[in-house]
């Protein structure tokens, strides 16, 4: 089996959803049968499903005053005012970050992701600070130690092994990267070393 690379693409808008969304915006306050009447070939089941997904993600709201059992009376809805200006139906929920057709709108999903990202960033900063303090305290540094300092200060820019040839790329000529963020004492020492070479 050939493995195809999956790229994240923008979801396509369903044409019937687009028409339903347009009708919702035109009618402003509407019921599901009213929307069905404005779209040729639409069904109550299809529109109900779309409205339910919008309601689940808080994009439409139910209007009060509906009494069940009254002939010709249906539950009325309104589009949430912040998304009412959009010409196309929202594809991604602004609360949970999932697609609109997701069955559960869980704000914690988005929150957890953000917290994890922040934790990773915080960890990287901490490591860099520790490395700076360690190497600034050392009286003299050899070129090997300097290379180690570079690797510790910039853990994200790790040298990757070339997958095709199996060789490591040539080390970058110091101080080509990150010169401006080094501590002043280390910068002075490195400056002298750089001039000497």
């Amino acid at each position: 089996m050939s493995s195809k690379s999956k790229k994240a693409t923008k979801p396509k808008i369903n044409p019937s959803h687009q028409r339903a969304w347009r009708s919702m915006r035109i009618l402003r306050e509407w019921s599901i049968p009213a929307i069905v009447c404005t779209i040729e070939g639409a069904t109550v089941a299809g529109i109900s499903k779309f409205v339910a997904s919008l309601e689940r993600h808080g994009l439409v709201e139910k209007l009060p005053g509906y009494k069940k059992g009254r002939a010709g009376d249906h539950q009325r809805y309104r589009i949430y005012s912040k998304v009412a200006d959009q010409p196309t139906p929202p594809q991604v929920c602004h609360v949970c970050g999932q697609l609109i057709n997701a069955r559960v709108c869980e704000p914690l999903i988005k929150q957890t992701e953000t917290e994890t990202e922040t934790e990773t960033e915080r960890g990287a900063e901490k490591r860099a600070a520790t490395a700076r303090a360690k190497f600034a305290a050392m009286p003299e540094l050899t070129p090997e130690q300097l290379a180690q300092a570079e690797a510790e200060l910039y853990p994200k820019k790790e040298r990757k092994r070339d997958t095709q040839t199996g060789t490591e790329p040539a080390p970058a000529e110091y101080p080509s990267e990150g010169w401006h963020v080094l501590p002043a004492a280390l910068k002075r020492r490195l400056g002298g070393l750089h001039d000497a070479t």
Binding site: R19, R22, S23, R25, I26, L27, P33, A34, V36, C37, T38, I39, E40, V44, R70, A71, G72, D73, D85, P87, T88
Partner: protein
């Protein structure tokens, strides 16, 4: 009840006029006007036709200027409001007159506000002249009278459509299309008379009649069977302050 749109005379005329505007000969003005009393199904008809022709719908506001009108049109076409009017007109025309795309009608609701400033009407004229997409203005019952007094504006409108409500034939059509039980002629006349040509009330009345007929196992219902029951839930009437005891 079946949830369908019945092709009433009003809707048929409106659809025909939009079609005529889309296929108008070169040199003909491309502006139409739709007006009528509230409750006659104007908005539903506009939504139906807008969906059929992939139209663009904007609602005019009392505080609208030419810039805000063009900004709203840009937003409807997937763009953003720009600083200069000419840039926005260029963008709108570019989007509407894309090669290989069918012309899309532009519907402007509450168009009474647009006629307060002729600049807005002129900007709309530029758009339909350059893009060949017609502009249909929708307003209340007085809009036509106001426009008729102004020769400069009236000359540009080539399609005038008034929503007059349902006649007896239309009511019969609605019953045939939407109701799941048959109505006798006398009950049909009763429904038409009681609802005052208002499509919303006709639908509510028919829903009640259908519910009653199904509960009693009837496939065809007459006026005698229905009796004098109310057809729809109207707003309550209150006695004046002086009449209260």
């Amino acid at each position: 009840m079946k949830h369908k749109t019945a092709m009433t005379k009003d809707l048929r005329r409106f659809k025909q006029s939009v079609d005529d505007l889309l296929n108008r000969p070169t040199g003909t003005e491309g502006q139409g006007l739709l007006w009528g009393h509230p409750g006659l199904g104007k908005t539903t008809a506009v939504a139906y036709v807008c969906n059929q022709y992939d139209g663009i719908f904007v609602r005019a506001l009392g505080c609208w200027t030419v810039t805000s009108m063009l900004g709203d049109l840009c937003r409807e076409l997937g763009g953003h409001r720009m600083c200069r009017r000419s840039d926005m007109v260029e963008y709108i025309v570019g989007e509407l007159a894309k090669p290989g795309c069918a012309p899309r009608p532009i519907f402007v609701d509450e168009a009474d506000y647009c006629f307060r400033k002729f600049e807005m009407v002129d900007a709309l004229r530029d758009i339909y002249d350059l893009s060949r997409c017609p502009v249909i203005m929708i307003g209340m019952e007085d809009i036509a009278r106001q426009i008729k007094t102004n020769e400069r504006v009236a000359r540009r409108i080539t399609q005038w459509v008034e929503f007059e409500g349902l006649d007896l034939f239309d009511t019969a059509l609605v019953v045939e299309e939407c109701c799941e039980v048959a109505l006798s002629d006398d009950l049909l006349e009763y429904v038409h008379k009681e609802t005052g040509a208002n499509i919303g009330r006709v639908i509510i009345g028919l829903t009640r009649i259908e519910k009653f007929a199904k509960a009693n196992g009837l496939t065809r219902i007459t006026s005698a069977e229905w009796g004098g029951q109310p057809l729809y839930f109207d707003q309550p009437t209150f006695a004046g302050k002086g009449k209260r005891k």
